[in-house]
Amino acid sequence: MNLLKKQIPITIAFLTGIFMWWQYYIPHHSIQNIYNIMISWELIIAGFALVVGIYSLLHHHANKIRRKTPQWGFSVVVYIAMFAMVINGFYSKQNGFGDPQNILMGGNFQWMFNYIQVPMQATMFSLLAFYIVSAAYRSFRARTKEATILLITAVIVMMGRVPLGEVIFGPKLPEFTEWILKTPSMAAQRGILLGVGLAIVATSLRIIFGIERTYMGGGAD
């Protein structure tokens, strides 16, 4: 059973990873044809990964309703809203059932997206505007030399990136801000990027050679 549960998946990972890595260096059409087929397979598997995510969320709320946990009524709201969206996406009087035109502009599906999903998602994230200014007021303190450098740079960039900064301090401020972004800040970001790149390569090698297996999850060992 260990063969089916562990050894074969690791072997699949190894063979797939090695092929996908080395195809980059072999432009021969036979290898590239196999590569293109494998990419098209992966696109379909990625679609099923979305299905996994959707099921997971619905299962969580179904459990809350079944067990009548506190505030389970809100989980009923989730299901009602979901069904409303699905019905409008799959059916319309004009186009009937299952027509892709149902999700286009002018239909109920797009209406619900524009007037319910967009405002709510946008508003949830716009709450952060209040929190960031409040956080800057309560905790942004120049306790050390390093924090002072951070603070001064933040103020320069905040003022240099808006028209009022140029009006108050002249055209040199936006130019200096641009220099900060293009030179010292860019240098640090490049250092981080190089480190991240090496880490990605190292982790990818660990996955291909079966050292890193946490992605497999599910089941014993």
Partner: protein, 313 residues
Amino acid sequence: MTFFDKMLKIDRRWIYLLVALAVIIPLLNPIGLPITITEPAQDIFDYMDKLPEGANVLIAIDFDPSSKPELDPMLRALFRHCFSKRLHMVVVTLWPAGAALGEDAVATVVGEFNSFYKEELADPDKGSAFVQEKYGVVKEGDEDYLVSGVDYSYLGFKPGSALVVLGLGDSFTKTYPTDYSGNQTTNQEIFKNLKSLSDLDFMMDIAAGATVEMWITYGKERFKFDMGAGCTAVSATQYYPFLNSGQILGLLGGLKGAAEYEKMVLTAGYWHKPGPATQGMDAQSIVHTMTAIIVIFTNIFFLMQRTRRKEEE
């Protein structure tokens, strides 16, 4: 409690109220502060402006409603620039929520162009000669100026991010057998000269996350097309290394980047009124100034408080 202690312990809801007022008042009473164009934004505009008529441009809508206020104005300004230059535009999205956002933006901008075209064609003071000069074509009867599948194609969403980019590098029509409306892409005229990413003249990624790096890594480096990026302000600093190395030609960062592009499109005559990003820059200026003042003064109060405590000890 000293004055400094009191100033450092103000209820946060007063701060929230200040922020709200700092946004609302400039929106209702605009100051009209001038917007200067930065070099990374100008580079993108200049490159797009030099593309010949019929050039193939790919635009990726990689954001969701949480970044809409920053990136949607940028996107619409870009669409207006493309359609005014009569470029062939293909639009994809790698974010699920971006699909409906893209449908909204494409349908709205295309609708605007088509209705302006019809109005100007029917206007007795303008007519066919004017329309031929401005739009480059006079269409018969009730035909739309911009036709899906000919002038543009909105392909919608596919999952897999890097896989989609690699798939597009092989073939647009195999990766997207149908467009967002369900029409077969193999029958569309726009894909006759645009088989894969290697046939692109320019690519622009409007992104809220790390998709710019992904388009560079799996797209630009492998299939050798020119690209630019528009991003939220949060992620703008991390794309400067790619700008410096020439992997992206230019960068539009946040609402300021969107306002800059709107201004360039307006100045060039491709659109007739300022957009929402330009409207928002006054409020942005006021809130930034307010935040900077808050940060400076709280640190002054903090230093005074620390000095006083040291003296008491």
